[in-house]
Subunit: 134 residues, 2 copies
């Protein structure tokens, strides 16, 4: 029922910043809405749905390009959704890889921190480890 949202209302309804919405329009992610007499953007429900989709996908860590792809796929409702599955899988795998990298990193940092005896910098193991074979 809620037709004709201002950009501020749309922002509030989707948890997006106003500037970000304008940015999405600029890069062609969200279609440009009609304008009011005073040149204000006037959004419809379709925009709200579109932006909700974008937000949700972004929150799940999909890149702008992936979101674009997912939206393109979502619009072809009679096609197989295997392509959607592929995008989601690629993203999941990338996240898993990132988790593995960060876990290794955290482990290294743990070792570094444990080795610190909190004396002077001159014999600090953390500094030493950072500047190898000095």
């Amino acid at each position: 029922m809620s037709e004709k949202l201002t950009i501020g209302k749309l922002a509030g309804a989707t948890g997006t910043k106003v500037e970000t919405i304008r940015y999405y329009e600029q890069i062609g992610l969200l279609p440009a809405p009609e304008r009011s007499a005073g040149n204000y953007r006037t959004y419809e429900d379709a925009h709200l749905r579109r932006l909700s989709f974008i937000r949700r996908a972004r929150d799940l860590g999909f890149s702008i390009d992936q979101v674009r792809e997912l939206m393109g796929l979502a619009d072809r409702r009679d096609q197989s959704c295997i392509a959607v599955d592929v995008v989601a899988n690629q993203h999941r795998d990338a996240i898993r890889r990132k988790i593995a990298d960060l876990t290794a990193l955290a482990g290294e940092l743990d070792a570094l921190i444990d080795s610190c005896s909190r004396n002077t910098v001159a014999d600090c193991r953390i500094i030493e480890a950072l500047a190898p074979s000095a």
Copy 2:
């Protein structure tokens, strides 16, 4: 013994790109070296040590500003290294938080992907989940 490195040699020795070294100099992270007659940068061992430190810290995910701080601390060798410990701990905690975030994300994506029955887009659960209450 190896004095007077060209930027290319320094890059090779530290696994850094030439452009990155110039960038570090530009932002004041690595001190500007002397120049040769032909205006080439000529690096000394001290630069090599400094850049190795930077590389290692960056590889461990420290931000440029954190590296700057660590180097500042490392230079005051008679001070307590508690401040070093603090920086390292903050960074470790930030990484742990990021891991937790990504793990939650991966879990959500797993659920999404599992729910996909690979039919048409019209009843694809992934698309559905992305566009809530459509």
